[in-house]
Assembly symmetry: C2
Homo-oligomer: 223 residues x 2
């Protein structure tokens, strides 16, 4: 197997993906839709955070959610139970979401327009970082039980995102070693423009601030 041939194919795939993502992003802007890609490890609390965000945003805006998983409909069911439009995207074992998958999933909304579209990406802190999904902002979650020492271990993800959302802050008392100041510092060294939020979906901590940031980003883009 020639290494150079593989690298070349991968670059072709990524270039095609980015072109498609740029078109999709423009199309959404014409529809007035602001699109956020939510990435994290498995179990960092993506679905739970989205459910909390929905409660903040739904009063004054329409929302659509694309739920990606290797298989299963567990998460899209939770979103639908909350009365929000959701489409399940099954990657069939693939470790990330590509633009072609987003386009197909979006078609399943049947032409509906939303103020906010969210993609809950595959639970994977590595591979999704490489693939532009057509979102206007990319955010990553890091849950307190995972530990604060992840910046040096998973630098590509920390480098590409617009926001780091620390989740499950109610676990801080059980994690006296979790060094929030070190996390903030390390993350900002790698990515100086990073917006950082500390949240807990259970207690509601930080959810309003996060929602306000998303609303402001949409305003800046569309108005």
């Amino acid at each position: 197997m020639e290494e150079s041939r593989i690298v070349e194919i991968k670059e072709d795939i990524l270039a095609d993906n980015t072109n498609a993502a740029n078109s999709f992003r423009k199309m959404l802007e014409h529809q007035g839709t602001f699109f956020v890609d939510v990435m994290a490890s498995p179990g960092a609390g993506k679905t739970t955070l989205l459910l909390a965000l929905i409660e903040e945003l739904r009063r004054s805006a329409s929302i659509g959610i694309i739920e990606a998983d290797l298989e299963s409909f567990v998460d899209s069911r939770k979103i639908k139970d909350a009365g929000i439009q959701a489409v399940q995207l099954e990657t069939r074992g693939i470790c990330h979401v590509e633009m072609s998958m987003v386009e197909r999933a979006f078609q399943a909304f049947g032409g509906q327009h939303f103020d906010y579209l969210f993609l809950e990406n595959i639970g994977n802190l590595v591979c999704p970082a490489e693939f532009d999904t057509g979102a206007h902002k990319r955010v990553m979650l890091l849950s307190v039980p995972e530990g604060y020492d992840k910046v040096y271990k998973y630098p590509p993800m920390f480098a590409v995102v617009d926001s780091l959302i620390v989740t499950k802050t109610d676990y801080l008392p059980l994690n006296p070693d979790f060094d929030m100041a070190a996390l903030r510092k390390q993350a900002r060294v790698l990515n100086p423009r990073l917006e950082i939020f500390e949240t807990c979906a259970r207690t509601g901590e930080g959810i309003r601030e996060l929602a306000e940031w998303i609303v402001a980003c949409r305003k800046e883009l569309l108005e």
Copy 2:
């Protein structure tokens, strides 16, 4: 980009990898070494579990550890601080460990033989499932804070491993929704031969049982 060409290349890579893994496994057996591949999400507690296991095993056996990360030396330093031989394997952004990486890392031990060799794989519940690393047993960790509903979301990993090690059981009181019985049932439906352990490295729960299973597996293979 032709899909068939990519699939073909991937199959070639996986076949080459499996052949190399089989040779490596045989070589270790001749040296009396039992090799365990430890896989999990980021922050599931792989390093902490290994540190607890070391304490159980080191009294009567020699141990070597290969610590894989995209970048950084955080984890191998922790292992070395415990007085155990460790080699850092940096994948340089690659989302899984392949056989060629294991071979190169193993050479860094400089010809030492161990009774037990452990690989702490990349924190990723998806991609490492596909790559045989030459281990005799493959185990996965799932931490309580991640939630119990992961079998349907990450089936390839649950299907390939020999053991599911539930970690951080001290978080159960904070997670009344964590349904251990459902997790056990779903995991065994997908993988009937799965050995399941409930552990907590902090309190020591389940660590001895896990160590005894590893010792018994080595005996069965080598004696």
